[in-house]
Symmetry: C2
Subunit: 232 residues, 2 copies
């Protein structure tokens, strides 16, 4: 018996409760949309929306003809926000500062070409900069921008605005890959981040594409005090 008026939210939460409280065990075939619609006194479309949300969250598995089952091996996903460095820092109430270290058009080394699946190593813009929070080094950014895809970047002024900030405003991406890892600070990175050489660093790498054309590869290095936190 559910006293609440029908709504995809209440239905979703009630079904979610039945799964969490193990009334429906993993692997159980749950009633069809029609049956649930009748039970909750709702339209099938409403039940459908509730079920789709749970399926998207990974706690239900739906197949035509076979029906809907409680996921046996819930492949749960979490989300993390793709931070824009200025917002990230200012959002915590810290003062954001930016320092351009270098920006030059040059040939890309082998590693970079390979990482971006580039045929030609020319027409690349190499930008290095530092982001600070409350005057303390927060992130060192080493970025390659593909001028063949984003020719406008040649005229961009990275003295006052970080390349990420410029890119979100001028070159939207359709596709991205994020990699996170741990590494050791090189001599350069150490002096910029004010840590000792060889100290652990948290590294994020992003590659973005627009319709299959690589836009940019960003190598983002944080001191080991950095935390990347997300909730589910």
């Amino acid at each position: 018996m559910t006293s609440q008026r029908a709504s995809f939210r209440t239905i979703r939460d009630e079904l979610s409760r039945r799964i969490a409280e193990r009334i429906w065990l993993p692997g159980t075939l749950i009633p069809g949309e029609e049956a649930l619609a009748e039970e909750f006194g709702a339209a099938r479309a409403t039940v459908n929306r509730a079920l789709q949300e749970l399926a998207r969250a990974g706690i239900l598995e739906r197949k035509r003809r076979a029906g809907t089952r409680v996921a046996l091996h819930p492949v749960r996903e979490a989300r993390f926000v793709i931070p824009r460095i200025r917002q990230e820092i200012e959002g915590r109430g810290s003062e954001y500062q930016y320092r351009l270290l270098s920006a030059e058009e040059t040939d890309a080394p082998e590693v970079i070409c390979a990482r971006l699946s580039l045929l030609s190593k020319s027409g690349m813009l190499h930008v290095r900069c530092l982001h600070l929070a409350d005057r303390v080094p927060y992130q060192y950014e080493d970025r390659w921008i593909n001028l063949n895809t984003v020719p406008d970047a040649r005229r961009a002024d990275f003295k006052s605005m970080g390349p990420n900030e410029w890119l979100v405003g001028h070159a939207p991406f359709s596709n991205a890959e994020f990699t996170f890892m741990a590494g050791s600070a090189s001599a350069d990175e150490a002096s910029l981040l004010q840590v000792r050489e060889g100290d652990p660093v948290f590294i994020g790498e992003r590659i973005t594409w627009m319709k299959g054309q690589p836009i940019t590869l960003a190598h983002l290095v944080h001191p080991s005090s950095h935390r990347m936190v997300t909730h589910l």
Copy 2:
């Protein structure tokens, strides 16, 4: 002119295209649902679904009365799968091995209590184990389980099954926090992971709750060769 038959997918993609190709610039107020429905020859509900998906993805911002705008500061999110270690390793075609190092009921140290907001330090199960891929250390797991929330864990046998595997089957969580960071291998961790003491390690920490009750805190340490990858 859109030649495709109306469907929330085609509408979504077409709107997405207009934004990506800067036909609608960030901040633009786009036509209302009714108008779009007419343009695409679809019902308003169909347009609504397309718009909702784009809003959820962060590229549109919708407000009642104010209409729908192209997001100025697209707060984009990416998803990552919460891996179950066995699947993660076997999914790459590697052989999974598991080794229990210790499991004992003991008082939790201050740090752990604080992290879990626990009032009492008793009734905690401390489990340490190692996960290997192709006989190479892959992850060292140091976990605290709250027996007050999950009393059944006392009778669990962690000799053949990792605590994560046991928990997903016996104690679903309603809420979780994930933290990722870089650190240095302690002497213990170094010998277990077969790296040198002080070498960088990639650390993941998860805390899970069931209805506000803390279930477990897992501290997961990977050698620095580890990569966490996700796409958008």
